[in-house]
């Protein structure tokens, strides 16, 4: 079907499409397929799924709207985009819920079939907005609206398969996908192959979906409603092999890789929770790598079993979201005290309490940092993009195993469900993690009678890392007891000695601080070297911050960007870098948690840019905030609408 278009083809450098419909309309699948087609085509892309916590929210209502946004381009992009250029709305609620996000001139494709009085009422429309198309003052007057009976045409196209009307209508998402695939010249083979495999056991459903998909394509090709199609050329990419990957999948692969690279069996003890459950689902498929997945009775048992497995010589992992971390806190403290390797994966969601299960947030940083009784430092690692979840997981495992400590891996809902092209790493380039199990006595003692003998001290530390020996049961001669009570330095027996406790508290902190010695210097993105403002971020704000910085630079101003993978300990050079700049802006999806840490640690007057609406930060809005700070620092007005860079530079502007 590709390459046979007979209509006018218009070149675009990037497009943002949002597919929106009822929770049961298959919008996530539709978006996912469009994304795969775009990835195979070679565009750079980022995605933003957005769906309600309810599996089937009340049909036809605004709370029941599920959407999938995909941003694809002929150049390197960093976010899923602020405002959609195209909205596909499968019902009135989907139209109403998303209309406010559209810029003037956006294309809207609506399925007229569901614009019934009943559905309009459910969505809160007094009158059908499609009826007023073309009238002065129409709510849709600023947009290019294509009102099409997608459902009706789908039912008509698949009638040869003898499905019930309901089943036939369910293929409407594939009709919409076919239409959009035509509009943007997407290759269709992967979707046809996908549908063939997915519905292999139900041939009539398979054929109906494939037929609907083709019918959608052909409709675009033949109808006069769509006069143009668009071409977005592949983006130049570094040589390598790529695939599209979501954050949770990359994170699960990273855990498998950590097992292979350490030679340790991975043991995941966990309890299902949105948006982390996909990590459990994925890892449960990889038993061939020696991965054991234990779905526990609760969050506490999940981490407990992981700690037990680590004690027994596995790489213990527990995966959860914020509410689960709250329940696991005491056990994480036990892992701090017993100094056992443990990965705690927190896929952050909106909080507090149950909060917003399917929305994203970065508000668990201070929980990871301080959410335990006593002085209980835990290293924190954060991925910056969906694909980066892979490397971040391997790094978290490196720290956990090397330093015998629990480590937080702070992902979030946006990273977990969002996806991007990922350059598949060469396994030979992955770091090797050395468990270095204890095998022999490490301490010499002299009895009162002068007899010299050797023994094993479970808290005698490595001089370089301050890590204690990891003596695994089954190792003869190293039998020892560990636990949550304070340990005597070295021998590890229970000690209530005041001076020893003070020493041990400081030593545990020093061990975590020591990790900074193994962290590479920060990369400072300051192309001009003349910036007075530095934007400091962590986690999934990497994309919006990078896109905002590009906008500011495009308008002729200077700004630096620094992004943290390690939140605890901070890289050694962070303080010195921050002091080079007059202003430090810290954008976060919380009320200023990294800002608080930075201000406390470095006495730097960091300024927060904070948004806690469950959605990723929008680059355009952030750019304005950066611009304002640049204006303040430089003492000149900043107008971001100016474009001072040569037109030939394929830098992303409007992201």
């Amino acid at each position: 079907m590709t390459g046979q278009q007979s209509k006018q083809v218009k070149q675009l450098d990037r497009v943002i499409i949002r597919f929106a419909g009822d929770s049961g309309d298959g919008m996530q699948l539709t978006g996912d397929r469009f994304t795969s087609e775009s990835a195979v085509f070679g565009n750079d892309l980022m995605t933003l799924p957005n769906f309600p916590a309810e599996i089937r929210a009340p049909q036809g209502t605004i709370p029941g709207v599920s959407s999938f946004q995909v941003h694809f381009a002929d150049h390197d992009i960093l976010t899923a985009g602020d405002a959609p250029d195209v909205l596909v709305a499968m019902n009135p609620a989907a139209l109403k819920a998303n209309l406010a996000d559209l810029p003037k001139g956006a294309i809207i494709i609506v399925d007229t079939h569901d614009f019934t009085t009943r559905n309009l009422t459910k969505a809160g429309y007094d009158a059908n907005p499609l009826d007023a198309l073309g009238d002065a003052g129409s709510a849709l007057g600023e947009f290019a609206v294509h009102a099409v009976d997608l459902t009706g045409m789908t039912v008509e196209a698949v009638k040869e398969f003898g499905l019930s009307r309901k089943d036939a209508a369910r293929a409407k998402n594939m009709f919409a996908l076919g239409l959009l695939s035509w509009m943007y010249g997407r290759p269709t083979e992967s979707t046809t192959a996908f549908l063939t495999k997915r519905f292999a056991r139900v041939p009539d459903i398979r054929d109906a979906n494939i037929t609907a998909f083709k019918a959608g394509w052909n409709f675009g090709e033949t109808t006069e409603s769509f006069a143009v199609s668009y071409e977005i050329k592949p983006a130049p990419q570094q040589p390598g092999t790529y695939r599209n990957i979501s954050g949770n999948l990359a994170l699960a692969y990273g855990l498998v890789a950590a097992g292979v690279q350490s030679g340790l069996p991975v043991f995941l003890g966990t309890y299902p929770i949105t948006p982390a459950s996909d990590i459990l689902h994925e890892l449960s498929k990889h038993k061939s790598f020696g991965v054991t997945t234990f779905q526990a009775e609760d969050e506490i048992a999940g981490v407990g079993a992981a700690i037990g497995a680590s004690f027994a010589g596995s790489l213990g992992v527990t995966s959860t979201s914020g509410p689960g971390v709250a329940l696991k806190s005491e056990a994480i403290g036990l892992a701090v005290m017993t100094e056992l390797p443990l990965l705690v994966v927190n896929v952050q969601r909106g909080g507090p309490s149950t909060g917003l299960p399917t929305k994203t947030e970065q508000a668990d940083l201070l929980q990871a940092m301080f959410g335990r009784n006593g002085e209980a430092p835990v290293p924190i690692v954060a991925p910056q993009s969906p694909g980066d979840c892979f490397a971040a997981a391997v790094e978290a495992a490196r720290i956990a195993v090397t330093y015998r400590t629990p480590v937080f891996l702070l992902s979030d809902g946006y990273l977990a469900n969002g996806s991007e092209p990922w350059a598949i790493p060469d396994v030979a380039d992955l770091p090797v993690i050395e468990p270095r199990f204890a095998t022999e006595h490490n301490h010499t003692k002299t009895a009162p009678d002068g007899t010299v003998s050797t023994e094993f001290w479970p808290y005698l530390r490595d001089e370089e890392t301050l890590a204690r020996p990891w003596a695994v049961p089954g190792t003869a001669g190293l039998e020892n007891r560990i636990g949550g009570l304070e340990k005597g330095e070295g021998h590890g027996n229970i000690s209530y000695d005041p001076a020893n406790h003070d020493l041990m508290v400081r030593t545990r902190q020093a061990k975590i601080d020591r990790i900074a010695e193994s962290i590479p210097p920060l990369q400072v993105d300051d192309p001009s070297g003349a910036a007075k403002v530095c934007v400091l971020g962590w986690g999934s704000t990497y994309g919006p911050i990078g896109a905002a910085a590009r906008r500011v630079r495009k308008a002729g101003f200077n700004v630096a960007q620094v992004h943290l993978r390690h939140l605890n300990p901070f890289p050694k050079d962070l303080g010195e870098i921050l002091r080079r700049y007059d202003k430090v802006l810290v954008p976060e999806m919380n009320l200023g948690q990294l800002s608080m840490l930075i201000r406390a640690r470095y006495l730097v007057d960091a300024v927060g840019y904070n948004q806690v609406n469950g959605m990723p930060i929008k680059a355009a809005q952030l750019a304005e905030a950066v611009g304002a700070l640049v204006a303040d620092a430089e003492g000149t007005p900043v107008d971001l609408t100016a474009d001072l860079t040569p037109a030939t530079t394929a830098q992303e502007v409007s992201e």
Partner: protein, 360 residues
Amino acid sequence: MSTEQLPFPGLRSGVEDVPTNEDAQTAKEYTSDQEVRWCPGCGDYAVLKAVQGFLPQLGLRRENIVFVSGIGCSSRFPYYLDTYGMHSIHGRAPSIATGIATAREDLSVWVVTGDGDALSIGGNHLIHALRRNVNMTILLFNNRIYGLTKGQYSPTSEAGKITKSTPMGSVDHPFNPVSLALGAEASFVARTIDSDRKHLTSVLSAAAAHRGTSLVEIYQNCPIFNDGAFDAIKNNDTKADAIIPLTHGEPITFSAGTKGLIRDSQTGGVKIVETADVDADALLVHDALNPDPSQAFAISRLTEMGYLNQTPIGIFRQVSRPTYDDQARAQVASASEAAPGTPTERLAGLIGSGDTWTVV
């Protein structure tokens, strides 16, 4: 959702995969260098001595034995044994032991817990360990009081008990740990007494040999906060009337054979009768191997839940069913064996799977 027929591993000992020791071992070898710090007269001393004396008989390599405990007086137990051990956090020992037992088939895993640790804060983990049937032995020290926190009532304290936190008497209804374990479909459930070393050791031996979760409730006297709670079953002049001994395959009688159990056709449970009043073949014969836990449960209900004037003692239930850890390991093993290539090659294959494209 469909179900998979899982292979049944067959009857195996609880310590079958644990390396054995050729040389004779002594209790001293199992004694750590740490000073034991329970109150004088505490029942925990007797249990510790019994365990230190029993472990050499097991004949396992000492380094392949792991004791895990929670929080409470009895949970200090691992510090006093020269094996691998972890004194963990309140109530969570069964979950930690589940991780250990699942990760390693070559370890003999023991949990030491108390009535507060196992039945109150850790009740959830206990019932789920029992239902999963993870290969471990749980020693539940039941002194029917909170000792370490200095004398509040526990989930096994009798209703009406006056304690520091219940000056007008406790209004909590107590758990019967054996009934609870049987309700959770535990595959091995026994009750014994701290001061009866011979019985305690015989129960430990059966529990260790059992493959799956063995729950052993040990009545243990707290001389400080609940002294005398078990006097009726300990005093020579009362214990014959108070203890209903359970021996598999034998009629259940007590009080020097003058009392026995029969089925109660009205309630579906069991009841106590004068043996003289019934035919000998009407007496209930104890069947610990019965796959149906109903009779064991009915017997467990004869436990006096107020002051302990009467209680069945012995192995209530000892049945074989697949263990969680054996099956989890079997799935990992079969998947690993079926996979071609080295782990590194397979990792490259995994991360390079799906729709890929190459830029040159």
